[in-house]
Protein backbone atom coordinates (compact mmCIF):
# COMPACT_ATOMS: atom_id res chain seq x y z
CA UNK A 1 0.00 0.00 0.00
CA UNK A 2 2.78 2.41 0.93
CA UNK A 3 5.38 1.04 -1.43
CA UNK A 4 5.05 3.90 -3.94
CA UNK A 5 5.57 6.65 -1.42
CA UNK A 6 8.00 4.89 0.88
CA UNK A 7 11.00 6.03 -1.12
CA UNK A 8 10.21 9.71 -0.64
CA UNK A 9 9.73 9.37 3.11
CA UNK A 10 12.51 9.85 5.59
CA UNK A 11 13.86 6.63 7.04
CA UNK A 12 12.66 7.39 10.58
CA UNK A 13 9.18 8.21 9.37
CA UNK A 14 9.05 5.05 7.28
CA UNK A 15 10.11 3.11 10.35
CA UNK A 16 7.36 4.55 12.50
CA UNK A 17 4.82 4.03 9.72
CA UNK A 18 5.85 0.42 9.50
CA UNK A 19 5.50 0.14 13.25
CA UNK A 20 1.98 1.57 13.31
CA UNK A 21 1.08 -0.71 10.44
CA UNK A 22 2.46 -3.68 12.35
CA UNK A 23 0.39 -2.72 15.39
CA UNK A 24 -2.72 -2.36 13.25
CA UNK A 25 -2.18 -5.78 11.75
CA UNK A 26 -1.64 -7.28 15.18
CA UNK A 27 -4.90 -5.70 16.36
CA UNK A 28 -6.68 -7.08 13.32
CA UNK A 29 -5.36 -10.55 14.05
CA UNK A 30 -6.54 -10.33 17.65
CA UNK A 31 -9.98 -9.26 16.45
CA UNK A 32 -10.08 -12.15 13.98
CA UNK A 33 -9.33 -14.66 16.72
CA UNK A 34 -11.91 -13.21 19.10
CA UNK A 35 -14.52 -13.02 16.36
CA UNK A 36 -13.79 -16.59 15.32
CA UNK A 37 -14.27 -17.87 18.85
CA UNK A 38 -17.45 -15.86 19.42
CA UNK A 39 -19.08 -16.27 16.02
CA UNK A 40 -18.16 -19.88 15.41
CA UNK A 41 -19.88 -21.26 18.50
CA UNK A 42 -23.60 -20.85 17.58
CA UNK A 43 -23.28 -22.60 14.17
CA UNK A 44 -21.39 -25.43 15.86
CA UNK A 45 -24.22 -25.88 18.36
CA UNK A 46 -26.74 -25.87 15.53
CA UNK A 47 -24.67 -28.37 13.56
CA UNK A 48 -24.33 -30.62 16.59
CA UNK A 49 -28.06 -30.66 17.28
CA UNK A 50 -29.04 -31.23 13.66
CA UNK A 51 -26.41 -33.89 13.08
CA UNK A 52 -27.23 -35.66 16.35
CA UNK A 53 -30.87 -35.61 15.37
CA UNK A 54 -30.06 -37.14 12.02
CA UNK A 55 -27.78 -39.77 13.52
CA UNK A 56 -30.39 -40.70 16.10
CA UNK A 57 -33.12 -40.90 13.47
CA UNK A 58 -35.13 -37.90 14.62
CA UNK A 59 -35.62 -34.45 13.17
CA UNK A 60 -33.85 -32.11 15.55
CA UNK A 61 -34.53 -28.37 15.88
CA UNK A 62 -36.11 -27.18 12.62
CA UNK A 63 -38.64 -24.52 13.66
CA UNK A 64 -36.61 -21.34 14.17
CA UNK A 65 -35.59 -20.07 10.75
CA UNK A 66 -34.67 -22.17 7.71
CA UNK A 67 -33.38 -25.60 8.82
CA UNK A 68 -33.60 -24.34 12.39
CA UNK A 69 -30.59 -22.11 11.77
CA UNK A 70 -31.82 -19.46 14.19
CA UNK A 71 -32.18 -21.97 17.00
CA UNK A 72 -28.88 -21.04 18.72
CA UNK A 73 -29.92 -17.37 18.70
CA UNK A 74 -33.28 -18.27 20.18
CA UNK A 75 -31.48 -20.33 22.83
CA UNK A 76 -29.18 -17.42 23.57
CA UNK A 77 -32.09 -15.04 24.03
CA UNK A 78 -33.84 -17.56 26.24
CA UNK A 79 -30.73 -17.89 28.42
CA UNK A 80 -30.49 -14.10 28.69
CA UNK A 81 -34.01 -13.82 30.04
CA UNK A 82 -33.80 -16.74 32.43
CA UNK A 83 -33.69 -16.01 36.13
CA UNK A 84 -30.10 -15.79 37.29
CA UNK A 85 -30.14 -17.90 40.44
CA UNK A 86 -27.25 -17.57 42.84
CA UNK A 87 -27.33 -20.29 45.48
CA UNK A 88 -26.80 -19.36 49.11
CA UNK A 89 -23.71 -20.36 51.10
CA UNK A 90 -21.36 -20.20 48.15
CA UNK A 91 -17.95 -18.67 47.65
CA UNK A 92 -19.21 -15.73 45.60
CA UNK A 93 -15.86 -14.66 44.15
CA UNK A 94 -14.92 -18.11 42.90
CA UNK A 95 -18.50 -18.79 41.79
CA UNK A 96 -18.50 -15.77 39.49
CA UNK A 97 -14.93 -16.18 38.23
CA UNK A 98 -15.16 -19.86 37.29
CA UNK A 99 -17.15 -19.42 34.03
CA UNK A 100 -14.69 -16.74 32.90
CA UNK A 101 -11.75 -19.06 33.54
CA UNK A 102 -13.52 -21.76 31.53
CA UNK A 103 -13.73 -19.43 28.55
CA UNK A 104 -10.15 -18.19 28.81
CA UNK A 105 -8.17 -21.00 27.08
CA UNK A 106 -10.17 -20.72 23.86
CA UNK A 107 -8.93 -17.18 23.32
CA UNK A 108 -5.40 -17.70 24.59
CA UNK A 109 -4.92 -20.85 22.52
CA UNK A 110 -6.54 -19.27 19.48
CA UNK A 111 -3.87 -16.59 19.56
CA UNK A 112 -1.13 -19.11 18.76
CA UNK A 113 -2.92 -21.18 16.11
CA UNK A 114 -1.73 -20.46 12.56
CA UNK A 115 -5.03 -20.02 10.74
CA UNK A 116 -3.45 -19.34 7.38
CA UNK A 117 -0.29 -18.24 5.61
CA UNK A 118 -1.25 -14.63 4.91
CA UNK A 119 -0.73 -11.58 7.04
CA UNK A 120 -4.16 -11.53 8.59
CA UNK A 121 -4.28 -15.17 9.58
CA UNK A 122 -0.79 -15.78 10.92
CA UNK A 123 -0.84 -16.43 14.66
CA UNK A 124 -1.13 -13.37 16.89
CA UNK A 125 1.86 -14.66 18.81
CA UNK A 126 4.03 -17.07 16.85
CA UNK A 127 5.77 -18.24 19.97
CA UNK A 128 8.99 -20.20 20.02
CA UNK A 129 7.46 -22.72 22.43
CA UNK A 130 4.16 -23.26 20.61
CA UNK A 131 3.29 -26.81 21.62
CA UNK A 132 4.30 -26.29 25.24
CA UNK A 133 2.07 -23.23 25.27
CA UNK A 134 -0.83 -25.37 24.06
CA UNK A 135 -0.26 -27.92 26.82
CA UNK A 136 0.07 -25.28 29.52
CA UNK A 137 -2.98 -23.25 28.56
CA UNK A 138 -5.25 -26.19 27.87
CA UNK A 139 -4.51 -27.44 31.37
CA UNK A 140 -5.57 -24.05 32.79
CA UNK A 141 -9.06 -24.43 31.35
CA UNK A 142 -9.89 -27.21 33.75
CA UNK A 143 -9.63 -24.78 36.66
CA UNK A 144 -12.89 -23.26 35.51
CA UNK A 145 -14.63 -26.62 35.71
CA UNK A 146 -13.08 -27.67 39.01
CA UNK A 147 -13.69 -24.34 40.73
CA UNK A 148 -17.18 -24.06 39.31
CA UNK A 149 -17.90 -27.48 40.77
CA UNK A 150 -16.54 -26.48 44.14
CA UNK A 151 -18.02 -22.98 44.38
CA UNK A 152 -21.60 -24.12 43.87
CA UNK A 153 -21.61 -25.82 47.28
CA UNK A 154 -23.21 -28.93 45.87
CA UNK A 155 -21.94 -32.49 46.30
CA UNK A 156 -22.65 -33.57 42.74
CA UNK A 157 -20.96 -30.49 41.33
CA UNK A 158 -17.93 -31.10 43.52
CA UNK A 159 -17.70 -34.68 42.28
CA UNK A 160 -17.88 -33.43 38.70
CA UNK A 161 -15.09 -30.92 39.33
CA UNK A 162 -12.91 -33.56 41.00
CA UNK A 163 -13.41 -35.94 38.11
CA UNK A 164 -12.48 -33.22 35.69
CA UNK A 165 -9.18 -32.45 37.40
CA UNK A 166 -8.17 -36.11 37.68
CA UNK A 167 -9.12 -36.68 34.05
CA UNK A 168 -7.13 -33.68 32.88
CA UNK A 169 -3.97 -34.78 34.69
CA UNK A 170 -4.26 -38.32 33.31
CA UNK A 171 -4.70 -37.30 29.69
CA UNK A 172 -2.41 -34.29 29.64
CA UNK A 173 0.67 -36.53 29.84
CA UNK A 174 -0.24 -38.80 26.95
CA UNK A 175 -1.20 -35.75 24.91
CA UNK A 176 2.14 -34.11 25.61
CA UNK A 177 4.14 -37.18 24.59
CA UNK A 178 2.03 -37.56 21.44
CA UNK A 179 2.80 -33.96 20.48
CA UNK A 180 6.50 -34.41 21.17
CA UNK A 181 6.70 -37.37 18.81
CA UNK A 182 5.77 -35.06 15.92
CA UNK A 183 7.75 -32.10 17.29
CA UNK A 184 10.88 -34.26 17.21
CA UNK A 185 10.96 -34.79 13.42
CA UNK A 186 9.99 -31.13 12.94
CA UNK A 187 12.97 -30.04 15.00
CA UNK A 188 11.02 -27.13 16.40
CA UNK A 189 8.27 -26.42 18.88
CA UNK A 190 6.89 -23.58 16.78
CA UNK A 191 3.50 -24.28 15.22
CA UNK A 192 4.23 -22.49 11.94
CA UNK A 193 7.37 -24.61 11.55
CA UNK A 194 5.31 -27.74 12.07
CA UNK A 195 2.93 -26.68 9.31
CA UNK A 196 5.68 -25.84 6.82
CA UNK A 197 7.42 -29.10 7.65
CA UNK A 198 4.24 -30.95 6.69
CA UNK A 199 4.31 -29.28 3.28
CA UNK A 200 7.52 -31.13 2.39
CA UNK A 201 7.34 -34.06 -0.06
CA UNK A 202 5.65 -37.13 1.39
CA UNK A 203 8.14 -39.41 3.22
CA UNK A 204 10.82 -37.23 1.65
CA UNK A 205 10.41 -38.90 -1.77
CA UNK A 206 6.90 -38.44 -3.24
CA UNK A 207 7.18 -35.06 -4.91
CA UNK A 208 3.50 -34.40 -5.64
CA UNK A 209 2.19 -35.20 -2.16
CA UNK A 210 2.61 -33.50 1.18
CA UNK A 211 4.10 -35.04 4.27
CA UNK A 212 1.14 -34.63 6.62
CA UNK A 213 2.09 -36.21 9.89
CA UNK A 214 -1.07 -38.31 9.87
CA UNK A 215 0.36 -40.22 6.85
CA UNK A 216 3.61 -41.13 8.57
CA UNK A 217 3.55 -44.26 10.76
CA UNK A 218 4.70 -42.51 13.94
CA UNK A 219 2.48 -39.53 13.18
CA UNK A 220 -0.55 -41.76 12.79
CA UNK A 221 -0.04 -43.33 16.21
CA UNK A 222 0.51 -39.89 17.74
CA UNK A 223 -2.54 -38.59 15.89
CA UNK A 224 -4.87 -41.25 17.30
CA UNK A 225 -3.54 -40.70 20.83
CA UNK A 226 -3.82 -36.93 20.50
CA UNK A 227 -7.37 -37.23 19.19
CA UNK A 228 -8.46 -39.34 22.17
CA UNK A 229 -6.74 -37.04 24.65
CA UNK A 230 -8.22 -34.00 22.92
CA UNK A 231 -11.74 -35.36 23.39
CA UNK A 232 -10.94 -36.11 27.03
CA UNK A 233 -9.47 -32.65 27.66
CA UNK A 234 -12.51 -30.91 26.25
CA UNK A 235 -14.82 -33.02 28.45
CA UNK A 236 -16.77 -34.34 25.50
CA UNK A 237 -18.60 -37.65 25.16
CA UNK A 238 -17.48 -40.39 25.71
CA UNK A 239 -15.28 -38.62 28.27
CA UNK A 240 -17.93 -36.29 29.66
CA UNK A 241 -17.77 -37.71 33.17
CA UNK A 242 -17.56 -34.27 34.85
CA UNK A 243 -21.06 -33.47 33.63
CA UNK A 244 -22.50 -36.97 33.38
CA UNK A 245 -26.18 -36.12 33.45
CA UNK A 246 -27.27 -39.64 34.32
CA UNK A 247 -25.16 -39.88 37.47
CA UNK A 248 -24.19 -36.35 38.53
CA UNK A 249 -27.21 -34.29 37.40
CA UNK A 250 -25.08 -32.26 34.97
CA UNK A 251 -22.07 -32.23 37.28
CA UNK A 252 -20.03 -29.07 37.64
CA UNK A 253 -22.59 -26.66 36.20
CA UNK A 254 -25.62 -27.86 38.14
CA UNK A 255 -25.67 -24.69 40.22
CA UNK A 256 -25.20 -22.33 37.30
CA UNK A 257 -28.09 -20.76 35.47
CA UNK A 258 -28.78 -18.12 32.85
CA UNK A 259 -25.73 -16.43 31.29
CA UNK A 260 -23.20 -18.02 33.61
CA UNK A 261 -24.28 -21.42 32.36
CA UNK A 262 -24.18 -20.07 28.83
CA UNK A 263 -20.56 -18.99 29.32
CA UNK A 264 -19.60 -22.50 30.45
CA UNK A 265 -21.44 -23.90 27.47
CA UNK A 266 -19.74 -21.50 25.10
CA UNK A 267 -16.35 -22.19 26.63
CA UNK A 268 -16.73 -25.89 25.92
CA UNK A 269 -17.60 -25.39 22.26
CA UNK A 270 -15.01 -22.68 21.74
CA UNK A 271 -12.27 -24.90 23.16
CA UNK A 272 -13.48 -27.73 20.94
CA UNK A 273 -13.19 -25.52 17.87
CA UNK A 274 -9.75 -24.23 18.83
CA UNK A 275 -8.55 -27.75 19.56
CA UNK A 276 -9.80 -28.69 16.12
CA UNK A 277 -7.49 -25.99 14.78
CA UNK A 278 -4.58 -27.32 16.82
CA UNK A 279 -5.20 -30.85 15.59
CA UNK A 280 -5.28 -29.57 12.02
CA UNK A 281 -2.03 -27.73 12.58
CA UNK A 282 -0.25 -30.66 14.16
CA UNK A 283 -1.40 -33.55 12.01
CA UNK A 284 -3.49 -32.44 9.04
CA UNK A 285 -1.03 -30.15 7.32
CA UNK A 286 -2.50 -26.84 8.50
CA UNK A 287 -4.11 -24.74 5.78
CA UNK A 288 -3.35 -26.95 2.79
CA UNK A 289 -6.64 -28.29 1.34
CA UNK A 290 -5.48 -31.78 0.34
CA UNK A 291 -2.17 -33.56 0.92
CA UNK A 292 -1.03 -32.54 -2.56
CA UNK A 293 1.89 -30.37 -3.42
CA UNK A 294 -0.02 -27.66 -5.29
CA UNK A 295 2.96 -25.77 -6.66
CA UNK A 296 4.54 -28.96 -7.97
CA UNK A 297 1.26 -30.09 -9.57
CA UNK A 298 0.68 -26.66 -11.11
CA UNK A 299 4.14 -26.53 -12.63
CA UNK A 300 3.83 -30.06 -14.05
CA UNK A 301 0.40 -29.18 -15.49
CA UNK A 302 1.94 -26.07 -16.99
CA UNK A 303 4.73 -28.17 -18.48
CA UNK A 304 2.23 -30.50 -20.13
CA UNK A 305 0.44 -27.54 -21.72
CA UNK A 306 -2.67 -27.32 -19.55
CA UNK A 307 -2.58 -23.67 -18.48
CA UNK A 308 -6.13 -23.55 -17.09
CA UNK A 309 -5.45 -26.58 -14.86
CA UNK A 310 -2.24 -25.00 -13.62
CA UNK A 311 -4.08 -21.78 -12.79
CA UNK A 312 -6.83 -23.70 -10.95
CA UNK A 313 -4.31 -25.74 -8.98
CA UNK A 314 -2.30 -22.66 -8.09
CA UNK A 315 -5.50 -20.94 -6.93
CA UNK A 316 -6.52 -23.90 -4.76
CA UNK A 317 -3.13 -23.96 -3.09
CA UNK A 318 -2.79 -20.17 -2.85
CA UNK A 319 -2.70 -18.25 0.39
CA UNK A 320 -5.86 -16.28 -0.49
CA UNK A 321 -8.30 -19.03 0.38
CA UNK A 322 -6.09 -21.00 2.77
CA UNK A 323 -8.10 -19.80 5.77
CA UNK A 324 -11.22 -21.38 4.30
CA UNK A 325 -9.53 -24.76 4.00
CA UNK A 326 -8.41 -24.48 7.59
CA UNK A 327 -11.96 -23.70 8.64
CA UNK A 328 -13.27 -26.64 6.62
CA UNK A 329 -10.89 -28.98 8.42
CA UNK A 330 -12.02 -27.64 11.79
CA UNK A 331 -15.63 -28.30 10.80
CA UNK A 332 -14.63 -31.83 9.80
CA UNK A 333 -13.05 -32.45 13.20
CA UNK A 334 -16.07 -31.01 14.99
CA UNK A 335 -18.25 -33.36 12.98
CA UNK A 336 -16.06 -36.19 14.18
CA UNK A 337 -16.60 -35.02 17.76
CA UNK A 338 -20.36 -35.08 17.25
CA UNK A 339 -20.18 -38.47 15.57
CA UNK A 340 -18.27 -39.81 18.59
CA UNK A 341 -20.93 -38.43 20.91
CA UNK A 342 -23.67 -40.13 18.92
CA UNK A 343 -21.81 -43.45 18.76
CA UNK A 344 -20.00 -44.20 21.99
CA UNK A 345 -21.46 -44.66 25.47
CA UNK A 346 -19.78 -42.88 28.36
CA UNK A 347 -16.78 -44.59 29.90
CA UNK A 348 -16.83 -45.80 33.47
CA UNK A 349 -14.39 -43.94 35.73
CA UNK A 350 -11.94 -46.86 36.12
CA UNK A 351 -12.06 -47.50 32.36
CA UNK A 352 -11.16 -43.86 31.83
CA UNK A 353 -8.16 -44.09 34.15
CA UNK A 354 -7.02 -47.43 32.70
CA UNK A 355 -7.22 -46.10 29.17
CA UNK A 356 -5.21 -42.99 30.03
CA UNK A 357 -2.49 -44.51 32.16
CA UNK A 358 -2.20 -48.10 30.97
CA UNK A 359 -2.87 -47.75 27.26
CA UNK A 360 -2.35 -44.25 25.89
CA UNK A 361 0.66 -43.16 27.93
CA UNK A 362 2.82 -46.29 27.31
CA UNK A 363 1.96 -46.37 23.62
CA UNK A 364 2.74 -42.67 23.26
CA UNK A 365 6.06 -43.11 25.08
CA UNK A 366 7.05 -46.12 22.95
CA UNK A 367 6.11 -44.17 19.84
CA UNK A 368 8.32 -41.33 21.01
CA UNK A 369 11.27 -43.68 21.52
CA UNK A 370 10.75 -45.23 18.09
CA UNK A 371 10.71 -41.79 16.47
CA UNK A 372 14.00 -40.99 18.17
CA UNK A 373 15.49 -44.27 16.91
CA UNK A 374 14.28 -43.50 13.39
CA UNK A 375 15.81 -40.04 13.48
CA UNK A 376 19.16 -41.42 14.57
CA UNK A 377 19.40 -44.60 12.51
CA UNK A 378 16.89 -44.36 9.64
CA UNK A 379 13.97 -46.34 8.29
CA UNK A 380 15.31 -49.87 8.76
CA UNK A 381 15.87 -49.25 12.45
CA UNK A 382 12.42 -47.66 12.60
CA UNK A 383 10.60 -50.69 11.27
CA UNK A 384 12.88 -53.03 13.22
CA UNK A 385 12.20 -51.31 16.53
CA UNK A 386 8.50 -50.97 15.73
CA UNK A 387 8.36 -54.73 15.06
CA UNK A 388 10.25 -55.52 18.26
CA UNK A 389 7.98 -53.29 20.31
CA UNK A 390 4.83 -54.72 18.76
CA UNK A 391 5.99 -58.29 19.38
CA UNK A 392 6.99 -57.46 22.94
CA UNK A 393 3.61 -55.83 23.56
CA UNK A 394 1.83 -58.82 22.08
CA UNK A 395 3.92 -61.21 24.16
CA UNK A 396 3.43 -59.35 27.43
CA UNK A 397 -0.21 -58.39 27.09
CA UNK A 398 -1.79 -61.16 25.07
CA UNK A 399 0.26 -64.15 26.15
CA UNK A 400 1.02 -63.32 29.80
CA UNK A 401 -1.29 -60.68 31.28
CA UNK A 402 -4.56 -61.70 29.64
CA UNK A 403 -4.44 -65.43 30.69
CA UNK A 404 -3.34 -64.38 34.16
CA UNK A 405 -6.22 -61.95 34.49
CA UNK A 406 -8.76 -64.46 33.25
CA UNK A 407 -7.28 -67.11 35.57
CA UNK A 408 -7.72 -64.71 38.46
CA UNK A 409 -11.30 -64.09 37.43
CA UNK A 410 -12.12 -67.79 37.36
CA UNK A 411 -10.60 -68.18 40.83
CA UNK A 412 -13.16 -65.77 42.28
CA UNK A 413 -15.53 -67.62 44.51
CA UNK A 414 -18.82 -66.68 46.02
CA UNK A 415 -18.62 -67.66 49.66
CA UNK A 416 -21.77 -68.30 51.63
CA UNK A 417 -21.16 -66.71 55.01
CA UNK A 418 -23.60 -68.87 56.96
CA UNK A 419 -21.31 -71.32 58.79
CA UNK A 420 -23.64 -74.33 58.71
CA UNK A 421 -24.10 -74.31 54.95
CA UNK A 422 -20.58 -73.16 54.05
CA UNK A 423 -19.92 -74.05 50.47
CA UNK A 424 -18.21 -72.38 47.53
CA UNK A 425 -19.55 -71.83 44.07
CA UNK A 426 -17.12 -71.70 41.16
CA UNK A 427 -17.65 -69.10 38.47
CA UNK A 428 -16.49 -69.51 34.92
Amino acid sequence: MLEGTAGSLLFAQAGSMALTEEILWALLRVIVVILFVLVFVPPVIWWERRLLGWMQDRIGPNRAGPFGLLQPIADGIKLFFKEDITPSKIDRFVYFTAPAIALLPAFVLGATVPWGPNRLLTPVADVDIGVLWILAISSLGVYGVTLGGWAGNNKYSLLGGLRSSAQMISYELAMGVAIYSVALPTGSLRLTDMVSRQHDPLWGVVEWAQNWFVFTPYGFVACVIFLICMVAETNRAPFDLPEAESELVAGFHTEYSSMKFAVFFMGEYAVMAVFGGIFTTLFLGGWSPLPLNWDHLASSADASGMGWLAATLAFIGSSKIAGLWFLAKIVGILTFYIWLRATLPRLRYDQLMNLGWKALLPIAALNFVIVAIWMLYGWIAFFGSAAVVTLAYFYVVVLILKPRASAKRSELKLVDVRPDTAKTIEIG
Partner: protein, 177 residues
Protein backbone atom coordinates in the same frame (compact mmCIF):
# COMPACT_ATOMS: atom_id res chain seq x y z
CA UNK B 1 9.48 4.65 31.79
CA UNK B 2 10.10 1.88 29.31
CA UNK B 3 7.29 -0.48 28.37
CA UNK B 4 9.19 -3.34 29.91
CA UNK B 5 9.30 -1.54 33.24
CA UNK B 6 5.54 -0.90 33.10
CA UNK B 7 4.82 -4.58 32.51
CA UNK B 8 7.29 -5.58 35.16
CA UNK B 9 5.81 -3.28 37.80
CA UNK B 10 2.25 -4.29 37.03
CA UNK B 11 3.12 -7.96 37.15
CA UNK B 12 5.18 -7.69 40.30
CA UNK B 13 2.38 -5.85 42.09
CA UNK B 14 0.01 -8.69 41.18
CA UNK B 15 2.63 -11.24 42.20
CA UNK B 16 3.16 -9.66 45.61
CA UNK B 17 -0.55 -9.21 46.24
CA UNK B 18 -1.32 -12.81 45.33
CA UNK B 19 1.57 -14.03 47.48
CA UNK B 20 0.13 -12.09 50.40
CA UNK B 21 -3.23 -13.59 49.56
CA UNK B 22 -1.82 -17.09 49.92
CA UNK B 23 -0.88 -16.56 53.57
CA UNK B 24 -3.67 -14.20 54.57
CA UNK B 25 -6.57 -16.20 53.14
CA UNK B 26 -8.36 -18.37 55.70
CA UNK B 27 -9.96 -20.46 53.04
CA UNK B 28 -7.69 -23.22 51.73
CA UNK B 29 -9.17 -23.14 48.21
CA UNK B 30 -8.75 -19.39 47.94
CA UNK B 31 -5.17 -19.64 49.18
CA UNK B 32 -4.47 -22.25 46.52
CA UNK B 33 -6.04 -19.99 43.89
CA UNK B 34 -3.87 -17.07 44.96
CA UNK B 35 -0.87 -19.36 44.59
CA UNK B 36 -2.01 -20.28 41.09
CA UNK B 37 -2.22 -16.59 40.16
CA UNK B 38 1.21 -16.07 41.65
CA UNK B 39 2.72 -18.87 39.59
CA UNK B 40 1.16 -17.59 36.37
CA UNK B 41 2.43 -14.07 37.01
CA UNK B 42 5.90 -15.44 37.70
CA UNK B 43 5.69 -17.20 34.34
CA UNK B 44 4.77 -13.90 32.69
CA UNK B 45 7.72 -12.22 34.39
CA UNK B 46 9.98 -14.85 32.86
CA UNK B 47 8.39 -14.13 29.49
CA UNK B 48 9.28 -10.44 29.80
CA UNK B 49 12.91 -11.48 30.26
CA UNK B 50 12.73 -13.55 27.04
CA UNK B 51 13.01 -16.76 29.06
CA UNK B 52 10.12 -18.36 27.22
CA UNK B 53 10.97 -21.96 28.04
CA UNK B 54 11.38 -21.26 31.75
CA UNK B 55 8.16 -19.27 31.84
CA UNK B 56 6.08 -21.89 30.09
CA UNK B 57 7.59 -24.66 32.24
CA UNK B 58 6.54 -22.65 35.27
CA UNK B 59 2.97 -22.39 34.01
CA UNK B 60 2.80 -25.96 32.69
CA UNK B 61 4.33 -27.74 35.66
CA UNK B 62 3.19 -25.62 38.59
CA UNK B 63 -0.20 -24.26 37.64
CA UNK B 64 -1.11 -26.97 35.17
CA UNK B 65 -0.21 -30.05 37.14
CA UNK B 66 1.04 -29.45 40.67
CA UNK B 67 -1.54 -26.89 41.74
CA UNK B 68 -4.24 -28.94 40.07
CA UNK B 69 -3.25 -31.88 42.27
CA UNK B 70 -3.13 -29.58 45.30
CA UNK B 71 -6.61 -28.36 44.55
CA UNK B 72 -7.76 -31.92 43.97
CA UNK B 73 -6.52 -32.93 47.42
CA UNK B 74 -7.97 -29.86 49.13
CA UNK B 75 -11.36 -30.44 47.56
CA UNK B 76 -11.22 -34.16 48.25
CA UNK B 77 -10.28 -33.77 51.91
CA UNK B 78 -12.81 -30.97 52.36
CA UNK B 79 -10.88 -29.29 55.17
CA UNK B 80 -13.25 -28.37 57.98
CA UNK B 81 -13.85 -24.98 59.53
CA UNK B 82 -11.06 -22.45 58.91
CA UNK B 83 -10.69 -21.98 62.68
CA UNK B 84 -9.19 -25.47 62.89
CA UNK B 85 -6.33 -24.42 60.70
CA UNK B 86 -5.34 -21.44 62.82
CA UNK B 87 -2.01 -21.58 64.57
CA UNK B 88 -2.34 -21.21 68.33
CA UNK B 89 1.22 -21.66 69.54
CA UNK B 90 2.77 -18.30 70.48
CA UNK B 91 6.39 -19.40 70.24
CA UNK B 92 5.99 -20.54 66.65
CA UNK B 93 4.68 -17.15 65.71
CA UNK B 94 7.70 -15.31 67.14
CA UNK B 95 10.12 -17.65 65.41
CA UNK B 96 8.27 -17.19 62.14
CA UNK B 97 8.45 -13.38 62.40
CA UNK B 98 12.16 -13.55 63.19
CA UNK B 99 12.96 -15.89 60.33
CA UNK B 100 10.99 -13.84 57.81
CA UNK B 101 12.81 -10.69 58.93
CA UNK B 102 16.11 -12.47 58.31
CA UNK B 103 14.88 -13.49 54.85
CA UNK B 104 13.78 -9.95 54.00
CA UNK B 105 17.16 -8.52 55.06
CA UNK B 106 18.94 -11.17 53.01
CA UNK B 107 16.90 -10.40 49.90
CA UNK B 108 17.19 -6.65 50.33
CA UNK B 109 20.96 -6.76 50.67
CA UNK B 110 21.17 -8.74 47.48
CA UNK B 111 18.78 -6.49 45.58
CA UNK B 112 19.77 -3.09 46.93
CA UNK B 113 23.46 -3.82 47.39
CA UNK B 114 24.48 -3.54 43.73
CA UNK B 115 22.25 -0.48 43.33
CA UNK B 116 23.79 1.29 46.30
CA UNK B 117 27.30 0.73 44.99
CA UNK B 118 26.72 1.54 41.33
CA UNK B 119 24.04 4.22 41.09
CA UNK B 120 20.34 4.35 40.33
CA UNK B 121 18.62 1.35 38.80
CA UNK B 122 18.50 1.52 35.03
CA UNK B 123 21.31 4.11 34.80
CA UNK B 124 24.38 3.53 32.67
CA UNK B 125 26.67 2.90 35.62
CA UNK B 126 24.29 0.40 37.18
CA UNK B 127 23.90 -1.53 33.95
CA UNK B 128 27.63 -1.56 33.22
CA UNK B 129 28.46 -4.25 35.73
CA UNK B 130 25.60 -6.58 34.75
CA UNK B 131 26.60 -9.24 32.25
CA UNK B 132 24.22 -9.47 29.28
CA UNK B 133 22.84 -12.80 28.16
CA UNK B 134 24.21 -14.23 24.92
CA UNK B 135 21.94 -14.41 21.88
CA UNK B 136 19.38 -17.19 22.05
CA UNK B 137 19.81 -17.59 25.80
CA UNK B 138 16.96 -19.51 27.41
CA UNK B 139 15.36 -20.75 24.19
CA UNK B 140 14.26 -24.36 23.95
CA UNK B 141 17.17 -25.16 21.66
CA UNK B 142 19.95 -23.75 23.83
CA UNK B 143 18.51 -25.15 27.05
CA UNK B 144 18.05 -28.58 25.46
CA UNK B 145 21.57 -28.61 24.07
CA UNK B 146 23.02 -27.64 27.43
CA UNK B 147 20.99 -30.20 29.38
CA UNK B 148 21.83 -33.09 27.07
CA UNK B 149 25.52 -32.30 26.77
CA UNK B 150 27.02 -30.54 29.78
CA UNK B 151 24.45 -31.49 32.38
CA UNK B 152 23.51 -34.99 31.30
CA UNK B 153 24.64 -36.59 34.59
CA UNK B 154 22.66 -34.11 36.66
CA UNK B 155 19.65 -34.80 34.48
CA UNK B 156 20.02 -38.55 34.86
CA UNK B 157 20.39 -38.27 38.63
CA UNK B 158 17.27 -36.10 38.78
CA UNK B 159 15.30 -38.60 36.74
CA UNK B 160 16.41 -41.49 38.93
CA UNK B 161 15.34 -39.46 41.97
CA UNK B 162 11.93 -38.83 40.46
CA UNK B 163 11.61 -42.50 39.54
CA UNK B 164 12.41 -43.44 43.13
CA UNK B 165 9.68 -41.09 44.29
CA UNK B 166 7.15 -42.67 41.94
CA UNK B 167 8.08 -46.24 42.93
CA UNK B 168 8.00 -45.28 46.61
CA UNK B 169 4.58 -43.71 46.37
CA UNK B 170 3.22 -46.75 44.55
CA UNK B 171 4.66 -49.00 47.27
CA UNK B 172 3.06 -46.89 50.00
CA UNK B 173 -0.28 -46.87 48.23
CA UNK B 174 -0.24 -50.63 47.61
CA UNK B 175 0.81 -51.71 51.11
CA UNK B 176 -2.57 -51.61 52.80
CA UNK B 177 -4.27 -54.98 52.93
Amino acid sequence: MSSQLVVFSAMSIVAVLSAVGVIVSRNAVRAALALVVNFIVLGVLYFTMNLELLGISQVLVYTGLIMMLFLFCILLLNLGAPQMLEETSGLKRYVAVLLSLVLIVLVLTQVLGPVAFSGAPGSESALAGIPTAPDGYGTAKSVGTEIFTNWIYALEICSVLLLLGIVGSILLAKRRG
